[in-house]
Symmetry: D2
């Protein structure tokens, strides 16, 4: 996924504000899922939503106005309720800016945990490839 | 209403990003209404929401990190569906930074216009004072 | 310009938050200028920045999660210091969601007005076509 | 620190968007430092800025529109370049919504690490109290 940096992403320190990377991660997850045929909107209609349970991010180098970021997204682990995403964010010079881990869980509209539908879990498990399948 | 400027309000031009003033205006409207006994949350429970129909804002001088903004809010006009707010935003030195006008309308959950409940309209009309009551 | 709507664009009313349209307009202006060979970053290096002087926007219909917005951007007027942009925002069904006008001015790093460089002014004037050239 | 939740903090899932908690943490750190006599703006004038190096946050329960969050901030560790903050975020019912850890480092305007001024380090160390002083 490629993402251009706009004024609204930056702060008066001259670089991208630390919270805004989490918006880029949403974009990356969305693209990741939709490229694999998973529509968040479609799931919402079936009363399945995703909530973020835990986020971890390291900031190694800053991104600045006009940069084009590239985000590599991978699924590291899938359980009955939880999907763990890992990401690498690089700029147009391939400098590693940030690494991050998100734990996303499936919930109902009441925000209580709700088991991932089988086909969704399968879809993610298929992505794990040689990576350990923790289920 | 007083509002401190944080890093997240600013952009790499060193000043508050132009869209973020509209967030301050939401804070100002909310405070204005709640100080007059009008709970947005209470109205939501009665299936009445407010939507913004039109926004106009002039930027005369920039706000910077650490500034304390003061926002004066006034209701200028009330009709069956619409409330017109006007604001002046000043910094801690009383420099006028911005003036703005918001047209807010009452809608149902389907975002269709829905007449303002009588008591709500009355509450706003009482604020108009000597100002022309357009109803 | 096309722009997908993410969770972070929306609010708990279920639609795009009114301030966030101004971020889309920044994206649209940037794209407009860069497609015509004008790099904001290049200008910054020459100590020329753009500041927003005035913003006006009408919200006619809401955008929701997953929508793909299309923004048509036009320059309506160019003077020695000021460029007036007008926009139409539509969703994937071509429904008109919003119209907007931005007055952008050229400033130095001190945020004082600074005349538009001749070549920049020319570039915008060339876009006006049959539209009245106000200079 | 107390912080009201506005529309602009939430998303169409009906709850506060996960990235926005990081803005609240900025507010909490700022308040923490300023209450102890440390002005970020004053430090900026001496060419000392703070950058976030690492952020970790757990989301245990969602915050919704109208909630009043309370954030408890503590400094857990201080080294020559780094300050580690820990936080607890609760709502008006004292429900624990979130816990978080931030590693903040002192940098110059070039974003290279720059040793914390002695008086600043001392100020933070004095907060550690009986907690282990790691320096």
């Amino acid at each position: 996924m490629k993402r251009r940096i706009y004024y609204y992403d930056t702060d008066c320190g001259g670089v991208v504000y630390y919270a805004n990377y989490l918006k880029f991660l949403e974009e990356a997850r969305t693209k990741y899922m939709e490229e694999r045929g998973l529509s968040l909107k479609g799931l919402m209609d079936k009363n399945i939503m995703f909530a973020i349970r835990r986020q971890e991010i390291e900031y190694k180098a800053p991104a600045v106005y006009g940069d084009i970021l590239e985000i590599k997204t991978r699924v590291l682990e899938v359980t009955g309720f939880r999907i763990r995403f890992v990401y690498e964010i690089r700029n147009q010079k391939s400098t590693l800016l940030s690494t991050a881990v998100t734990d996303m869980v499936s919930v109902g509209k009441d925000f209580k945990l709700k088991e991932l539908p089988k086909e969704v879990r399968k879809l993610f498990l298929d992505q794990l490839g040689s990576v350990k399948k923790s289920i």
